[in-house]
C-alpha cells in the first residue's frame, strides 16, 4: 500500500497493479473503513480495481497531515467489520434488438449465440468498481472465450439497461449514453434511482449473476 499525491487535493492509494480479486478486496476494505469514519475533510472517495483515490478538502487539512492521520489508522483496518457482499440476480434479454452487437460477438468469438449466453450466465461476477456513469458496475472477470475488443467507433447512444462486453469485463448501462462496449443484451433491472435512497442498487464487492429473462 502506497500513498501518492494526486494534484493538490487528492491522495492516491495504490494497492496493486492488476485486475485481481484479492487486491480489489483490499481496496474495498480500506474504502469501507474510511467511509465509516465519515470525516469532514473527505469530499469524495473513488475506490476502483486496484487503487483508492480520496478527494480531500485541502483548505481543511494538508496532504502531509492527512496521510499521517491515515497511516496511523492502518492497523485498525483489518479489524473493521466489513459489510457482507450482496448477490444480485440480473435478468437479461439477449440478442436481437436488445443486443445489437451479438452478431459481432458470435463472429469474433466463433461461438454460437447460445454458447455465448451460457458462458455469460455461468459466472458469478465481482463488482470491481462503480463509475463511468452513476451506478454503472464494472463486472469481472469474463470467461476468456468471451473476450472482445471495444467498438472502434463508440456508439452515440447506448440505451439504458444495455449489457455490454469489453475485453474481459462486462457492465450494465444505467442511463442512456454514448459508449463503446459490445452490447449483447438488455435488462429491466433498476440499478440507480436518483429519486430514492439508497440511490445505488450495488456496492463495490457485491456479486452479480446474469440470468436469461
Amino acid at each position: 500500500m502506497e500513498y501518492q499525491k494526486y494534484g493538490e487535493d487528492g491522495v492516491r492509494i495504490v494497492f496493486g497493479d492488476a485486475i485481481d480479486l484479492v487486491i480489489n478486496e483490499n481496496v474495498r476494505r480500506y474504502y469501507s473503513y474510511l467511509k465509516s469514519l465519515n470525516l469532514k475533510e473527505v469530499v469524495d472517495i473513488m475506490p476502483s480495481f486496484s487503487t483508492c483515490i480520496i478527494h480531500f478538502d485541502s483548505e481543511a487539512i494538508s496532504f502531509e497531515k492527512f496521510v499521517f492521520y491515515l497511516t496511523e489508522r492502518e492497523s485498525q483496518i483489518n479489524a473493521f467489520d466489513i459489510r457482507e457482499p450482496v448477490i444480485h440476480e440480473i435478468p437479461v434479454v439477449y440478442g436481437g434488438s436488445a443486443g445489437p452487437d451479438m452478431g459481432f460477438v458470435v463472429s469474433y468469438t466463433k461461438l454460437s449465440e447460445d454458447e455465448i449466453i451460457d458462458l455469460h450466465t455461468s459466472t458469478l461476477y465481482n463488482v470491481y468498481t462503480i463509475g463511468f456513469m452513476p451506478g454503472f458496475p464494472y463486472l469481472g472477470t469474463l470467461d476468456k472465450r468471451l473476450y472482445v475488443p471495444r467498438l472502434e467507433t463508440p456508439r452515440v447512444k447506448v440505451p439504458k439497461g444495455s449489457v455490454g462486453l469489453a475485453q474481459l469485463q462486462t457492465g450494465i448501462y444505467t442511463y442512456e449514453s454514448p459508449g463503446g462496449w459490445q452490447i449483447i443484451g438488455k435488462t429491466g433491472a433498476k440499478l440507480f434511482d436518483h429519486t430514492t435512497e439508497p440511490y445505488c442498487l450495488m456496492n463495490m464487492g457485491d456479486k452479480v449473476r446474469f440470468v436469461r429473462a
Partner: protein, 295 residues
C-alpha cells in the same frame, strides 16, 4: 416567476456541486467557475449553495415576473435591463415585467445569472446542479429552453452592489494553464515531454470545438507514449482538472462530470487555474505549464 425568453447557446442550473457520492459514480456537476458562482451569491446575499444559471453565448434573455435583485458574474458581458446598460459583476434591482438581456460577451465564455431568492427547484442527491448526461437535477434535468418558467421562492430586493474591477479575474486568451505531475507522466517519451516544456510556438494548443462540459479537448502536437507502455490504464478515480491523454496523444482536461477514467493522466491543473477552464472557448490558444516540486 421568471420566464426564459431566450436560453443563449446553452444554459443550465448549477450550484457548488454534488459531492459525497463519487463512490457510486455520481459526479459533482458543479459550476465550472467557482469564484464567479460564489461572488454571484455574495452579491445577492444568497446562501452559498443557492442555485444559479450558467450560460454560454449571447442573446440570453429573461422576463422578470416579480420585483427582485439580480446579478451577473463570470464572463464580462454587455447586458441590458429594460433598455438600461448593466455593469459586469454587479447586482441590480429588477422590477416586475422587466426584461433582462445579454447582448454580447466581450471577455470570457461562461457567465452566471442569479436572483435574490431561491430558484424553485428540488435538490436531487443533495444538489441543484444539472447532471446533463443522466438528465437529473437542475430544471427537469435538462438545459433551459425558450418558454421555461420557474418560481423564485422568497424573492428579496437587496441593495445594488458590485465586485471591484481589480477583483474580476482575467479571462482573455491566450491561456496559460499550470499543472502538477500526474500519476502516468512517466508513460510519455522524454522528447515528447521536453517539447511540451520548451514553450515554443509548437507547444501551444488550441481548444477544440468538440469540447463540452465533460472535458476540454486540445488540438496541437500530440504527446508521444513510450514504446513499451500500454496506452490505457486499469480504470481508476480521477479528479477535476486531470489532463488525460488518450491513444491519439491529444490532451483532454476533465471537468466535473466523471469519477473514473481509463486514460493516462499526464497531470492535474492546479486549483488556482480551475476557474479559467470555464472560459476556454473553441480556438483559444492554450499553453500547459508544469509547475511544482517535481519539475
Amino acid at each position: 416567476m421568471i420566464e426564459v425568453i431566450h436560453p443563449g447557446w446553452f444554459s443550465l442550473i448549477v450550484d457548488g456541486g454534488r459531492y459525497g457520492y463519487a463512490d457510486y459514480g455520481v459526479p459533482s456537476s458543479a459550476a465550472l467557475d467557482t469564484f464567479s458562482y460564489k461572488m454571484l451569491n455574495a452579491l445577492l446575499k444568497n446562501p452559498s449553495d443557492a442555485p444559479a444559471i450558467e450560460v454560454i453565448g449571447n442573446d440570453f434573455s429573461l422576463r422578470i415576473g416579480t420585483d427582485m435583485t439580480c446579478a451577473i458574474t463570470g464572463a464580462k458581458v454587455e447586458a441590458i435591463l429594460s433598455g438600461e446598460l448593466l455593469q459586469p459583476w454587479t447586482s441590480f434591482r429588477a422590477q416586475k415585467g422587466s426584461i433582462l438581456k445579454v447582448k454580447s460577451i466581450f471577455e470570457g465564455f461562461r457567465y452566471y445569472v442569479g436572483f435574490s431568492g431561491t430558484i424553485g427547484i428540488e435538490k436531487i442527491i443533495n444538489s441543484y446542479s444539472t447532471n446533463l448526461e443522466c438528465r437529473f437535477g437542475g430544471f427537469k434535468g435538462r438545459p433551459l429552453m425558450k418558454g421555461d418558467r420557474f418560481v423564485l421562492k422568497e424573492p428579496r430586493e437587496e441593495k445594488p452592489d458590485k465586485i471591484p474591477v481589480e477583483n474580476i479575474p482575467d479571462m482573455k486568451p491566450p491561456h496559460v494553464l499550470r499543472f502538477l505531475k500526474g500519476p502516468e507522466m512517466k508513460y510519455f517519451s522524454p522528447e515528447s515531454l521536453s517539447r511540451l516544456f520548451e514553450k515554443k510556438a509548437s507547444s501551444w494548443y488550441n481548444v477544440s470545438s468538440k469540447s463540452n462540459r465533460t472535458g476540454i479537448r486540445l488540438e496541437g502536437e500530440p504527446l508521444v507514449f513510450k514504446k513499451d507502455v500500454e496506452k490505457s490504464i486499469i480504470s481508476e478515480g480521477i479528479l477535476p482538472g486531470t489532463i488525460q491523454i488518450p491513444g491519439d496523444g491529444l490532451p483532454i482536461i476533465m471537468l466535473h462530470e466523471r469519477t473514473i477514467g481509463g486514460y493516462a493522466r499526464l497531470g492535474v491543473i492546479i486549483k488556482a487555474d480551475h476557474d479559467l477552464l470555464a472560459h476556454l472557448k473553441p480556438k483559444d490558444a492554450v499553453m500547459l505549464e508544469m509547475v511544482g516540486p517535481d519539475l
